[in-house]
Subunit: 499 residues, 2 copies
């Protein structure tokens, strides 16, 4: 491959061009590696694959830090090769998930906005090598990221050596979409000056001392994006309940007509909710979120949304085509920021973001489990959900009312793991209905959640537990019978049905 | 009582001077009342007592919103009189706690920094009447608060009518200590411009349209402050472990020599930890917290602390004397802010606050219960602990390793209620030792917490549970046996011992 001078603008770095195998040899056993990538978007591919190959013949363990989940060439290949000792802060890959749930990988599940500052504070040890996918390297060494920013700025800042995968499949037109701002450490930190979703506060590249760039690897391997399921009946109903709720908030003067900036989790439900907004009466919408999915393109295309700020663009294959084809249209409407900024409590609270995320299960008092199947097995991780919902103007959790063909109720007496407490959950919505929990006590919440959100097959049993718990506890603040609180999960594990 | 023109500076309000009984008659059945007060400090006393009296002969229910806990004249008297329907956001009073745990009062336990914005967003309904304790009323109607600010600014802003208890027992010299800043609602909110603990950004009074002031009640009843227990051996050991940890952080360059602004929960352990700093090598300390207790005076007096910012001054009786006597010395060193600012995520994260709070119980994976006894009975509430620890530079939870003379282990297999998740807890400390959890996976956390923090009487049993859970779950991410996870609590309820 020949590199164009548009991509590699600092001529002297030509001497650093090498194969993925050569670059991978810079990584030694026991090192901590920080990579670009946030969802299967903008992550390095060649060097990880070379590393996995090396591990076939060599004892090799590294700590792998990324922005969030990444593609299979990184998480999958390295997990299967047994290369990962410790992994932070999020994943969604089957291979790595299996390793995490069988004691082969130590996974640390932390808020996505906490990770970069913890790296900069020195709490997570030294970053030996950063591997960053880029569309170009500037004359000053500055790195123009690809379709995600994630933790790349802090990894580049803190790493001893930087390896760059210059990816020609990523269009040069991405340049200008990014807005890189790196907060200082206390006591020198200043207010983050974002006062509107569309405000840019940083540079369009990641500053990097060229001395640190130890390798440049050329590639044109594309992101392994994932298909989106068609919008199903359940997601559609959830979306309808939510839009009705938002309309009502506007009617009562608790939200402006243009709403406030929206955040949305990833996955099919989240996408369906956003898609529902295309046919809603709302106009002038803004998006201040993590991941920019297909439905956001729909909203930008139809003119109902004016700006979308995130840390990664992660469409389906079809969406990616559309994005690349109309990139000049989207360039002025999309801003990609470091996850430290996209997920920043300060900014989220200031802008008044409406946060919509998906739960695995929710209990009758409003506690949410986002991460653990039956209290023990890690699904993906908390991701940015905590960053957003704790600081949201309105915090919303959506889930289908049942899972596994109805054998599981997603509304339970007590969640088997807590990621978000009752203190942080204002609205719960399932295809059955929507529970508005603002200003409600636990007992009031229980009635609202059971009646509005539980599946009819489970409603009576939930109410029965609740009433029994009231009697048993003498009507304590949060009625529970500890001997029965987790029995639905225990039942499921033993009998394959919760009740 | 005759009111001095120094206290009541707006002459035309003299016509509003009335008895507590008259003022209380402005409050009608079904109303929502917002009062000043944060801890037994700066809360109204006369009107609540009159209201409780009225309820002897009349059916009277109100929703009571305050800053946090308040004195017995307010929470106690009204709870015993059965006047409170709904209570928000925090309490510590025996009478009200009993009512909450027997189904007589609906208590809503929310983050102290969330309450004021939820009031302003209109999420908690209308505030009919605000009752505010003040040291003076300015010519423009502006209210000079007493020893706490709490939620008074937002209640005054949003209330239809304002009743003022002008309290002559509170010295006029308090004027100038307060710093009142009220954020706008999104989308108009601006950065909160605090960049140093000692920076003042607002007014020294709560702005108030004089038209709203419906009553002025004169009093000289003092705050019912509470005594502090002498520092016991357990608290002393906790303090020593913590100071050793902080010294080590400085040594490794992860904290500056002057540390970063400290936050500390209330109560005896918190006070002991702060007192421990008097004999520590640290200098130039700052305090960015909620409540200013006796030990903070010690630190200011000895010159080791330069500034203390909080939302309330709540010393013991002896401390209060000392405070009043040296008020000119303390005036330049103490800043009292609204709880929306003292507890603000934006500011806490920017300043890099070191947050130290107390837990009821902590589990082997680092989840913290701050509020519920045996999973059902409300103790006090989450208070500001979540505001601080989620946004802290270092988040620390302290607890004695056992309670009830050793019958209870405060380190348990699974907490019976979660207020703070593993994602938010960096350090756990008991008199046994300190566990540094930064960057650790659940399994690594379990070993660290059991070995360093558990009481020797419980250590083996905890390790046994952990190992069994590893086998049972196939070494899942968070090993648990749901059938046994809460058995320690069930044992205690049945047999009076956890194991
Ligand atoms: C919670 C989360 C896993 C839901 O994802 P999703 O794709 O909408 O969920 P699905 O309904 O497809 O369920 C995923 C799996 O969990 C299973 N599941 C769902 N609810 C379950 C429950 N209550 N108990 C057990 N399993 C359950 C489903 O059956 C499915 O399993 P399968 O893949 O074996 O069929 C996902 O949103 C997540 O990881 N959230 C945390 C991070 C986050 O919020 N990020 C966004 C922040 S910006
Ligand atoms: C957690 C909290 C209750 C601890 O307070 P404390 O005064 O240090 O606690 P104590 O050790 O005196 O314990 C209080 C009571 O709980 C009991 N207790 C303590 N641990 C217990 C446990 N694990 N199980 C059951 N009871 C327990 C004690 O025995 C004592 O009961 P008693 O009054 O009947 O004797 C208190 O810090 C709190 O309310 N925190 C939440 C709010 C907060 O953090 N605010 C500060 C934010 S700035």
């Amino acid at each position: 491959m020949i590199v164009s001078s548009e991509r590699l603008r600092l001529k002297k770095l030509e001497s650093k061009i090498m194969t993925a195998e050569e670059a991978a040899s810079l990584i030694e056993d026991g090192m901590t590696v920080g990579t670009s990538g946030f969802t299967p978007s903008g992550y390095p591919k060649e060097v990880p694959l070379a590393l996995a190959k090396r591990a076939e013949k060599e004892n090799l363990k590294i700590n792998l830090y990324t922005g969030a989940s990444v593609g299979d060439e990184l998480d999958g290949a390295l997990a299967r090769a047994g290369v990962i000792a410790k992994r932070m802060p999020y994943q969604t890959n089957d291979s790595i998930r299996n390793s995490i749930n069988s004691g082969k990988i130590e996974f640390v599940d932390i808020h996505l906005s906490h990770m970069p500052q913890m790296v900069r504070y020195g709490f997570l040890g030294k970053i030996d090598v950063a591997i960053i996918e880029a569309v170009a390297i500037r004359k000053d060494g500055g790195i123009v990221p690809a379709t995600s920013v994630g933790n790349s700025p802090v990894f580049v800042q803190m790493a001893e050596k930087v390896i760059i995968e210059l990816n020609e499949s990523q269009p040069l037109e991405l340049e200008g979409m990014h807005d890189i701002y790196i907060p200082k450490n206390p006591p020198y930190r200043k207010p983050i000056p974002i006062t509107r979703t569309d405000k840019r506060i940083g540079t369009t590249y990641i500053p990097c001392d060229p001395q640190k760039i130890a390798a440049v690897v050329l590639t044109n391997r594309r992101d392994s994006v994932r298909p989106l399921a068609p919008v199903d009946e359940t997601s559609k109903k959830i979306s309808e309940h939510l839009i009705e709720f938002l309309e009502n908030e506007v009617k009562h003067g608790r939200l402006p007509k243009t709403l406030l900036p929206l955040q949305s989790g990833v996955g099919n439900i989240a996408n369906a909710v956003l898609r529902g907004l295309v046919d809603s009466p709302f106009e002038g919408l803004e998006f201040y979120s993590e991941v920019i999915q297909d439905a956001v393109f729909d909203l930008l295309d139809c003119g109902k949304m004016t700006v979308a700020s995130g840390t990664s663009v992660t469409p389906s294959e079809e969406g990616l085509e559309r994005f690349y084809k109309n990139i000049d249209f989207y360039r002025n409407k999309i801003i990609l920021r470091p996850q430290e900024i996209s997920n920043n409590p300060e900014v989220i609270r200031r802008l008044g973001v409406i946060a919509m995320n998906t739960a695995i299960e929710i209990d009758i008092y409003g506690h949410v489990n986002s991460t653990h199947i039956m209290g023990t097995k890690m699904m993906n991780g908390i991701g940015g959900s905590g960053d957003f919902i704790r600081n949201a103007y309105i915090s919303i959790f959506a889930t289908p009312s049942t899972a596994k063909n109805g054998a599981i109720s997603c509304i339970v007496p007590m969640v088997s793991h807590v990621d978000h407490t009752e203190h942080d959950v204002m609205v719960v919505v399932t295809e059955q209905g929507l529970a508005d929990l603002r200003g409600l006590s636990p007992k009031e919440r229980a009635k609202e959640i059971i009646q509005k959100c539980a599946h009819p097959d489970y409603r009576d049993a939930l109410m029965e537990y609740y009433k029994k718990a009231i009697d048993f506890s003498g009507s304590a603040h949060t009625p529970h019978i500890l001997e029965e609180a987790l029995s639905w999960h225990i039942n499921y594990s033993k009998k394959g049905r919760m009740i």
